[in-house]
């Protein structure tokens, strides 16, 4: 067994204080708590914040609303906890149904659509190339071409 212990283990946690009340009229108040003294402006929207509203994140001081907006609109990458991997989905749809052959008539167009539609969508947080999309487009393209050729031949034989 091995245990690596660090300084954070012995440092007492900071107990957060509620914001200080405004004493003098000249003092600026917090946007969200007008009676509390403003200590720092929000780095995103510029609103004045008291010590209660101040959120230190990514070495910046932001307000809770900007933090929420940043998370919803995916502007703050460090807040993202989930991403859909469209390139993996497109590649899986192109490759796996090949085992069952006939189902590729449905999955090949699906794979091509996903690859084109989500070409510019954010992929994994750890940067990756478009290789999966390219392979998916190539394979599904071949499958669609194969099916079109087959249908054309069938129609030709019928006619």
């Amino acid at each position: 067994m091995r245990a690596d212990v660090f300084r954070a283990r012995i440092i007492k946690q900071t107990i957060w204080q509620p914001g200080e009340d405004i004493v003098l009229d000249a003092e600026s108040g917090c946007f969200f708590h007008p009676q509390k003294k403003a200590v720092v402006p929000c780095a995103t929207c510029g609103r004045f914040l008291c010590s209660l509203c101040d959120v230190e994140f990514n070495s910046q001081h932001v307000c809770p609303m900007c933090l929420e907006t940043g998370k919803k609109k995916r502007k703050i990458k460090n807040l993202e906890t989930h991403r859909v991997l469209y390139d993996d989905i497109a590649l899986a749809l192109a490759l796996i149904p090949m085992i069952f052959v006939w189902i590729t008539v449905i999955t090949a167009p699906m794979s091509l659509y996903i690859a084109i539609r989500h070409w510019k969508s954010p992929s994994a947080i750890i940067p990756r190339t478009k290789t999966r999309f390219i392979i998916a487009i190539f394979i599904s393209g071949l499958q669609i071409a194969g099916w079109l050729f087959l249908f054309a031949k069938l129609i030709g034989e019928i006619l």
Binding site: M1, R7, R9, N78, E80, T81, L85, D88, P127
Partner: protein, 350 residues
């Protein structure tokens, strides 16, 4: 994509274990960022992320587990079993048996080369997170060495004097505020289940081993009926054990043996069913008379058919070995569990 590499990958990859992993395998990986550690859980179609800022990491702990050794034993038993089976069969079956034996041998060597298994945990002020990617000791130690440098760079080095000065404070804080809910959940898990169904399962396995051995010399209806009853009981108790172990703090090795046993039981059912259907097809006149079919089935001796002989030998070996290994691991689990419960109760009483 940025030119500067934002994250550098840490050694190791593993599977996140849990209920959802029965359906979808979640692969876990660790990446070191500039100010945080990123845990990436990949389900194949999506990724989930957990970040631990270096300034918040209090400790990283790793300890050895027996999971790797148990899987090695299971692979070796199956490899040997199928190799023995290949000696008793002809043509296509021999080739198939050798291929399967070869596959299990390959799995054995891969598992052995990857090194001993371990479990690693990351501690912060408010959580204890398992790091599934650090499941092999070699990778865990490499990753811990890298992380230690990074974290000490940010937090500063912890001297032994500082650690010993605050050790009394730390243990007091652990009891009062660190994670009383989490501790009680683990304690509850430990107290909830003492392995009674696993004990029944492994004793039944030994009984099944004796039964399979007797089948070499005695073939009649009573033996077959006892076999059916034993097999059904094994299947039921196997399922109960798998469900019970999911909510307990049972080690990976014991859980692995239980899963392997359940898998082998179902394989035995399938093989016996195929033999039964073969008899029914060979005797179409008797296909409507289940009792007569059963009587014909009961007269079959393992020595009549090479495949049946090989499978009977494999089953006997597995039932005895599985039962013995399972009981040994279960005894170890019970001893560790009772010590843990005792310690936790003493801590709480203080």
């Amino acid at each position: 994509m940025t030119n500067k590499k934002e994250y550098s990958r840490l050694p190791g990859r593993g599977l996140k274990r849990g209920a959802s992993s029965l359906v979808v395998k979640t692969r876990a990986r660790l990446y070191a960022g500039s100010d945080h550690l990123l845990c990436v859980y990949n389900t194949g179609y999506a990724e989930d992320y957990k970040r631990f800022y270096y300034k918040d990491i209090q400790a990283i702990v790793t300890h050895k587990t027996t999971r790797g050794k148990v899987w090695n034993i299971v692979f070796a038993i199956f490899a040997l079993g199928f190799a023995l089976l290949s000696l008793t069969t002809k043509d296509v079956l021999t080739v198939l048996s050798l291929i399967v034996a070869g596959l299990f041998t390959l799995l054995f060597f891969i598992n052995w080369l990857r090194g001993p298994t371990c479990k690693s945990y990351l501690y912060t002020a408010v959580s204890k997170e398992e790091l599934p990617s650090l499941s092999r000791q070699k990778n865990a130690l490499k990753a811990m060495n890298r992380l230690r440098l990074i974290i000490e760079n940010i937090q500063g080095k912890l001297t032994s004097e500082e650690l010993s000065e605050s050790s009394a404070e730390i243990s007091e804080r652990d009891l009062t505020d660190t994670k009383p809910k989490l501790m009680s959940k683990v304690l509850q898990q430990a107290q909830n289940y003492n392995g009674w169904s696993h004990a029944i399962l492994f004793y039944l396995l030994l009984v099944a081993g004796v039964h399979t051995f007797i089948e070499f010399f005695l073939n009649n209806m009573i033996v077959i009926i006892l076999g059916v009853l034993a097999g059904s009981a094994l299947a039921i108790i196997g399922i109960i054990s798998v469900v019970k172990q999911h909510d307990s703090n049972m080690s990976g090795g014991l859980a692995g043996v239980t899963w392997a046993t359940l898998g082998y039981i179902f394989l035995s059912f399938i093989v016996n069913y195929i033999i039964y259907m073969y008899i029914a097809i060979k005797n179409p006149g008797l296909s409507n008379n289940q009792w007569e079919l059963l009587k014909m089935y009961s007269k079959i001796s393992p020595f009549d058919n090479q495949f049946f002989l090989g499978f009977s030998i494999c089953s006997t070996v597995y039932f005895f070995a599985g039962g013995a290994i399972g009981l040994a691991l279960l005894r170890k689990f019970r001893v560790e569990n009772s010590i843990y419960i005792q310690k936790e109760i003493e801590k709480r009483e203080k």
